[in-house]
């Protein structure tokens, strides 16, 4: 536990005096404080027996996400903290604590400076999030990679007539964590976080740097970014001796990304692409597509969004995502009712192989402060040529009930 959370404790102790000082002064200095968050219960049920021994089928778990925001100096300065806890009763490896955010921010005229642990999102597409690289993926939380671990950083952002410039200094790297022996959606061998090493001798302490320019002109929203540092995704290099044996490590990468969206009436045209270079592998990937929304169908308030995206990754069989040449189609249904009922249906079909991924996500508010979510993911006819083959018997259904405060 000490090894896992050591860095987190250091950050916490560094900020604690500041927080206490702020609370102490809050009455005198006009500090605005806001506490919110949720507690949740989830049950994940796998439809088939696992591929490997000792894998379980049902996973109950609890989650808790508290958030505290303090602002003073008439909103010019703030301290934002978000924690996250997951307690999984059947797969101990999925039980984890994370500091999603803990940063101080100063805002003045057209610039802002943030220091601490923060989450940053870049990109426009729905099926994959290629350009989004600042934060490590929280592999234990979601299959779609939308949950992220907090990333320590110094972030400076400047808004100017020629666009917004963002500069990042990322002093510490966070490793991915993996499911345990009893868990699902895992590889045949049990991976420990520490099993994956680094190309760089500095390991986690090798600093990362990133730069992003983004702008909005008429119908266009564009972003160009560059990242240099430890890659967030482990690199799998086939071993020289035995077939099926891989060397796995975090490489030092240079990644240039571009995201572009054109908003023309009800149609959004989306494009994301990355070029990643490292000593052992160069790659190119892209996601291009459209989203068409039919609003207020029949005057009943229902919005139907149709999404189509083509995904390409030139690593072929070595693409961890398995999305080397795939077509994503999806439909988003938003009922715009008092309970905010929403559904998202999606399929990813491999254009060259048999693999099909099907997903359904639904959510609805119950009363004023409860929400109910369903998620289903099906893996159909998974080709034995891709990494996803490890998960071919891991189709699941999940229910989540959350109380928000």
């Amino acid at each position: 536990m000490k090894g896992k959370l050591g860095w987190l404790k250091k950050v916490w102790w560094a900020f604690l005096p500041a927080i206490l000082l702020l609370f102490g002064q809050s009455k005198a200095q006009g500090i605005e404080a806001d506490f919110s968050g949720y507690v949740g219960y989830s049950y994940q049920h796998f439809l088939h027996d696992g591929l490997y021994e000792n894998q379980r089928a049902g996973f109950p778990s609890f989650s808790f996400e508290p958030e505290l925001n303090l602002s003073w100096d008439e909103g010019g300065q703030s301290l934002n903290a978000t924690g996250f806890v997951r307690i999984n009763f059947r797969d101990a490896s999925r039980t984890h604590v994370d500091l999603r955010e803990l940063y101080w921010q100063k805002v003045k005229n057209n610039w802002e400076l943030s220091v601490g642990v923060k989450k940053i999102y870049w990109g426009v597409t729905e099926a994959v999030h290629l350009v989004d690289i600042i934060n490590q993926t929280d592999q234990l939380e979601t299959f779609d990679g939308e949950q992220k671990l907090g990333q320590p950083m110094v972030h400076y952002s400047l808004y100017s007539p020629i666009g917004t410039i963002d500069l990042f200094y990322l002093p510490y790297f966070r490793r991915r964590a993996f499911p345990g022996e009893h868990g699902r959606l895992r590889t045949p061998f049990i991976l420990e976080k520490e099993d994956i090493g680094f190309e760089s001798d500095m390991e986690e302490t090798r600093p990362g740097f990133a730069l992003r320019w983004s702008n909005y002109v008429g119908i266009f929203d564009i972003g160009l970014s560059h990242f240099y540092g430890n890659g967030r995704e482990p690199l799998f290099i086939p071993g020289s001796e035995n077939e099926g044996v891989f060397n796995v490590f975090y490489p030092v990468i240079n990644q240039t990304g571009m995201d572009l969206q054109a908003t023309t009436g009800p149609v959004l045209w989306k494009f994301e692409s990355i070029v990643r270079q490292s000593a052992n592998q160069d790659m190119f990937a892209m996601d291009a597509g459209i989203e068409y929304t039919i609003g207020n169908v029949g005057g009943k308030g229902l919005d139907i969004g149709l999404i189509g995206e083509y995904l390409y990754d030139d690593r072929g069989d070595l693409a961890l995502s398995g999305l080397q040449s795939d077509l994503f189609t999806g439909a988003r249904l938003a009922f715009n009712d008092v309970q905010s009922t929403e559904f998202l249906f999606g399929t990813i079909i491999d254009m060259e192989r048999s693999t099909k991924l099907i997903s359904v996500e639904g959510s609805r508010r119950l009363g004023e402060s409860w929400t109910f979510d369903v998620e289903m993911r099906l893996f159909e006819d998974v080709s034995d040529q891709e990494f996803l083959n490890f998960f071919r018997r891991d189709s699941f259904l999940q229910f989540t009930l959350e109380r928000h405060f």
Binding site: E112, D337, E368
Partner: protein, 266 residues
């Protein structure tokens, strides 16, 4: 030559004044437009504003549901206003915010911020007839009411609830609007809105919006403390209560960026 120019200016002025003192000489369209412009002029110069909103939704069985949000607005004259809306409740959408750049002509630009994944999304502003947060207000009912978004026709002068008003019909220019026409009652003294009837695409009376609890700020700007929207077709209604209005709070374009959208939501 200079004398001639002065004379023509004087004549032009006389002509303009002549029109103003004889409104009955105007076409109903010109008079309707003039009333809409006068209403816009009567509110010029608030620069920027901030207000907290409580939205109370009532279904046909009388069950209520409440939402809280706050709005920041930047007044612009060359083009439409800029605004930010931040939700505080329901708690599961706390921090969700939208930013809209209204344009006098053409589609508005709109962004949505989703705090759980820290994502800013540019969204289509086409869907203006859809309901705002499950309420009886459509997006177009709450967006900045630029004069150019409608064509006008003056109908008559009328006394409603003891108030002298001008009744003007206005038709949305945008074919994507959910309405064929609206009947708008302007207060004769100060051009503030008293009531609007909304007619749906089948030209049937759909909703009535009533403004009440007006207060005047800076001896000029009238703001209603309550909007009540009643849907005659569904039997549902939505009340909007405005609290703690602040004006001229020094906001600039730099307060309406994607960075500000992220900040207000966190």
């Amino acid at each position: 030559m200079k004398y001639l120019k002065t004379l023509s200016t004087a004549l032009a002025l006389l002509f303009v004044v002549g029109i103003n003192t004889k409104p009955q000489a105007q076409t109903p369209e010109a008079r309707g437009l003039q009333i809409a412009k006068s209403a816009e002029e009567a509110d010029l110069g608030f620069e920027s504003s901030k207000v907290n909103l409580i939205m109370i939704l009532t279904n046909k069985h009388g069950q209520e549901s409440t939402r809280n949000m706050s709005t920041l607005t930047l007044e612009l004259t060359e083009d439409g206003d800029k605004s930010l809306i931040v939700f505080d409740s329901p708690k599961d959408v706390k921090g969700t915010s939208t930013m809209t750049f209204t344009h006098k002509v053409g589609s508005d630009d709109q962004w949505l911020y989703l705090p759980s994944i820290k994502r800013v999304k540019r969204i289509s502003s086409d869907n203006k007839s859809g309901p705002f947060m499950g309420s009886e207000f459509a997006y177009e009912d709450l967006s900045s009411q630029e004069v150019e978004k409608y064509t006008y026709k003056f109908l008559k002068e009328e006394k409603i609830n003891g108030v002298d008003t001008y009744l003007v019909e206005r038709d949305p220019v945008d074919p994507k609007s959910g309405y064929t026409r609206q009947l708008v009652w302007y207060n004769k003294d100060n051009y503030r809105l008293e009531k609007i009837d909304f007619y749906d695409r089948k030209n049937e009376l759909m909703k009535t919006l009533t403004y009440s609890k007006y207060k005047q700020y800076f001896n000029k700007h009238w703001r209603a403390g309550e909007f009540l929207m009643e849907n005659h077709q569904s039997g549902k209604k939505t009340k909007l209560i405005f609290e703690d209005y602040e004006f001229k709070i020094g906001l600039t374009d730099a307060d309406f960026t994607q960075n500000s959208l992220r900040r207000v939501g966190s």
